[in-house]
Amino acid sequence: MNLTLKIWRQPDAATTGSMHTYEVDDVSEDMSFLEMLDVLNEQLNAKGEEPIAFDSDCREGICGMCGLMINGEAHGPVTTTTCQLHMRSFTDGETITIEPWRSDAFPVVKDLVVDRGAFDRIIQQGGFISVNTGSAPEAHAVPVPRDDAMRAFNVATCIGCGACVAACPNGSASLFIGAKITHLGELPQGQPERDSRVVNMVAQHDHEGFGGCTNIGECAAACPKEIPLDVISQLNKDLRTAIRHGH
């Protein structure tokens, strides 16, 4: 298949970027989206042009590094990560617009690469539990009800890719924080720091410049891990509880 690509090029954070148009021919529909970009970069290299910078790491949908806005949808038209999106999801002759995540809290580093350090700082504020390390405790010492464990597991699949922020009209990271709050809040080990976790993570979120949630739901539709909107309700409930406890 032959494609026309409109791609955001920006040499560095300080320079203003713009859209550039490229033609890629003989793309196999079995290629992943990133492999297609690899082919384009080989062509650019051969011509002596600067290849397009984009993030990727595991290329199997579990690390959260790759994230592109493809035709106005985070990670493209299929509910998966950009690396697991295949060219069979597009048609021959199609024009595909590729942009970086747009969020002032995720500044563009180069071309399609953004700095998601804001998520790291939010995690630093409470995306953990404090336990004494040393000999491993007996696994059955702390029983966890099955439904709680399942909910925690389901939302722990969040890979922090930032698609929720990219899709949100308000540029909010509420789905991300909601996933972390729910994941740790469902488990007994997460209880001691439950109140301070939600207050500190939300404060960092606001400080980073993410917008406020208005429950539109584009985040959950864009999430490659299908984190449901319920986690934002949980987030709100935990914050309300923290207020009641005097935080």
Binding site: E99, V109, P169, N215
Partner: protein, 246 residues
């Protein structure tokens, strides 16, 4: 890849965080003040529907609102209590909305060239400008029926503009005024459709798939009932089902 310096945005870790200074607290204010309005529009709609019982029932209700609780309350006392609560709710609602709107604008200063809105209902993207429209409508509505009691058609012979029922019938016999009200009610319906669901989510009541679906269904039903309930009175006046003699 060489030559790519990771930019340190210089953002620091927050110390001494307070829950009441968060965006979620603003949303809670939004939800609680919105809930006051939901209660109000239901009560207001009930009052309007009394027009189907004719002149005397409608005016008796209007008088009843003023004489409620007398002599313990002064004449119009209940109305002023309600008005005070509504004004406070309005100030809170508008303040929280403006603060969140400003934040959202700052959160994405460079827009996408192409953006789809997968997963969003149209009403959810209409909240801010729809809210501004409703505010303008409410100002006109108060001028027309409460503060000035405007008779847009100059008033028909023998009708007193201080008689609520006559003012109602005279107003909605004017077709363009009825159209303005119907457009406003469509806006109100859209605002409630997303707003009621959003309030339940903000208050943390929708922590499962079942409760989320229930909240969305309830929001839609209430929006249709309220927007529809308000709309049928002007429509029935325009088509002369509700008349001055009924």
């Amino acid at each position: 890849m060489t030559g790519v310096a990771i930019q340190n945005s210089g953002t620091t870790l927050v110390k001494g965080a307070r829950a009441t200074q968060s965006t979620i607290f603003l949303k809670i204010l939004m939800a609680v003040s919105g809930a006051v309005f939901i209660g109000f529009v239901l009560l207001h709609m009930y009052g309007n529907l009394r027009a189907f019982w004719g002149h005397d029932a409608y005016d008796a209700y209007a008088r009843g609102l003023r004489t409620f609780g007398t002599p313990d309350l002064p004449f119009g006392g209940l109305l002023w209590i309600i008005r005070t609560v509504l004004i406070v709710a309005l100030v809170v609602h508008v303040y929280a909305a403006a603060a969140l709107w400003k934040r959202a604008k700052r959160a994405r200063t460079i827009q996408y060239q192409v953006k789809k809105h997968t997963g969003a209902i149209f009403a959810s993207r209409l909240m801010r400008w729809g809210g501004v429209t409703l505010l303008l409508f409410i100002i006109w509505h108060l001028l027309e029926f409460t503060i000035v009691k405007v008779q847009v058609n100059g008033g028909s012979p023998g009708s007193d503009r201080h008689d609520p029922y006559y003012l109602l019938v005279d107003s909605f016999n004017t077709w363009w005024l009825t159209v303005i009200y119907l457009v406003a009610m469509a806006m109100l319906g859209a605002h409630l459709h997303h707003g009621i669901w959003s309030a339940t989510q903000t208050l943390g009541l929708t922590g499962s798939e079942r409760t989320r679906k229930l909240a969305k269904r309830t929001a839609f039903t209430l929006a249709v009932v309220i927007a529809g309930g308000f709309s049928i009175v002007p429509i029935f006046v325009l088509f002369h089902v509700i008349t001055k003699t009924s």
